[in-house]
Amino acid sequence: MDTAIKYNKKHISAKNRLITAVLYLTLTAVAVFLIFPYVFMVSRSLMTVADYSQVPVNFFPAKPSLEAYKNIFVDSHYFKYMLNTLIIVAVNLIAVPLSASLCAYGFTKIKYPGSNFVFSLVLATMMIPGALLQIPLFVFFSKLGWLGTLLPFTLPSFLGGGALYIFLLMQFMRGIPNELENAARIDGAGVLTRYARITMPLCIPVVLFIMVSVFGGLWSDFYGPLIYLKTNPASYTLALKIYIDTISVNVSSALANVRMAAGVFMSIPPAVLFLLYQRKLVDGVMVGAIKG
């Protein structure tokens, strides 16, 4: 009996070890495949122009060089465009959570006749394709004299918030007991105080999630800037500048290694955010809201 059990246990642990080994092997194989383009991008960014244009292409630089990075940071070929990106990102990191949370608070904690209908109008905006709105918006911004300025990417955010973010915040606010609000109200707290001091501090996880998404969406977006900023090179964002260089044939081969370096540089903030945020992201702010 005893030996049988022992044998069985040994058998199971051997089987488990095999499964674990197979798992690790699969994980490693998938990882090698998936990180290949990233590693290649880093490797290409460390090449000199001469090294870059070698045929056939070397996978690793003959002699790693920081020439491309020096071009970005010291000679400031791309760096100055980052300022525009940073302005847009900074304004939106404040404006989007602010307008989205004010709206979500109005829908959940105050509620007024017709607020459900207004909410459905907000949700319905998710269905309208960006390709449809960009043409009238271009005309609209052109009439306002906003083309070639950062205004199309900043001012509307104070009136926007985005349907998905409003929806997420509403789901979260619904989970906050109304007793908290009522107690504060009895203590004489006005509605703005209750919003800022009671509800918002409890919404910090969602607000963080929204900020991460807002950052990710704007940081590397080239398409919006392409439409509204194209006429004024001084207003280009980093992503747009890289795009313009890529499609214009004369610069495209000359600065290829610099664009790779810019790509590496641009990928660092989202990568760091992902690492810092991995737990929370996986714990699922999104899913809770969708199921609720």
Binding site: A31, F138, V139, G161, R259, G292
Partner: protein, 306 residues
């Protein structure tokens, strides 16, 4: 009596407060979404270049899209082909990847981060990178598959450019992996524990717990993936090209709906009325598809207590 009026007065103040809180967004969607959508519908009945020229043409834009424009069939064909392949491919691969990293093995967080790494490559860099990797003369991909005696011209010939583009979407699998992982986290652990007690093996637990419990997320991802893939324009970077000819691919093989709208509206022709009509057709298609998806979601199992 007096008390009642005081209550109703308080109620109306509260209503006003509610309206004020939501007012910025109401103004925002009115001005920047609904008004603009109406404008776009209006433009679609005009020969309009965005500036001075604006002639009423009735339904001519819509008629021309379906009868005269040779590109219409091409962009619809390409976009639907792309959507039909990449949506299921992305969902299944993302789901499998999430299952693969949904365990407590040592170092699993490192693998998750590595799997996610391609997702953080900015689109503009990805375009340059793919063109570099898949270059037919000196690209590194031909060196790799050359080991097996293979060679392809990838983006440079029409027949292989769509498969190549679809192949590149596989690297985006980390994005949906993260969403699936969070869906798995929300499945109550007790379900697995009681199933284990009942002697369910790993396959049974996947088939009868994980899969059904993640159907709301599968549905949500399906809807967003369909809507997203119909609006893809990644080829604008990969394929380059100047104003009016951006991102078409070899012999229009990678020409998508949204890229055509961009070229028509902002390219040399400046056909904003025509492009608006095209945008409305896309909108209607997306609306219909979303409607059909919502009508057919009987397989989605929402948790009962919600």
């Amino acid at each position: 009596m007096k008390k009642k009026t005081r209550i109703s007065k308080r109620k109306s103040i509260e209503n006003l407060q509610g309206v004020l809180f939501t007012l910025p967004v109401i103004i925002g969607i009115a001005v920047f979404t609904y008004y603009q959508a109406a404008q776009s519908l209006y433009y679609s009945f005009f020969d309009y270049n965005g500036f001075s020229k604006m002639d009423f043409v009735g339904f001519k834009n819509f008629v021309n899209i379906f009868t005269h424009d040779k590109e219409t069939l091409v962009v619809f064909g390409n976009t639907f082909l792309y959507a039909v392949i990449t949506v299921p491919l992305g969902l299944v691969l993302g789901y499998l990847t999430a299952l693969l990293v949904n365990n407590k093995l040592k170092g699993i967080n490192i693998f998750r981060a590595l799997f996610y790494l391609p997702v953080v490559i900015p689109a503009v860099a990805a375009g340059v990178l793919w063109r570099d990797i898949f270059n037919s003369d000196y690209g590194v991909m031909n060196q790799i598959i050359g080991v097996f005696g293979l060679h392809s011209r990838f983006f440079e010939v029409a027949s292989s450019s769509m498969p190549t583009l679809i192949f590149t979407t596989v690297w985006g699998v980390g994005g949906s992996m993260v969403i699936w992982l969070s869906a798995f986290k929300n499945i109550p652990v007790e379900l697995y524990e009681s199933a284990k007690l009942d002697g369910a093996n790993a396959w049974h637990r996947l088939r009868y717990i994980t899969l059904p419990m993640s159907t709301p997320m599968i549905f949500f991802n399906l809807v967003t993936a369909v809507i997203g893939s119909l609006q893809t324009m990644s080829t604008m970077v990969i394929m380059g090209g100047g104003a009016g000819s951006a991102g078409k691919g070899e012999s229009n093989s990678l020409y998508f709906i949204v890229v055509k709208i961009y070229n028509d509206a902002f390219g040399r022709g400046g056909r904003m009325g025509y492009a608006s009509a095209f945008g409305w057709i896309l909108f209607i298609i997306i609306g219909l598809l979303t409607f059909v998806l919502f009508k057919s979601n009987k397989w989605v199992q929402y948790a009962e207590n919600n």
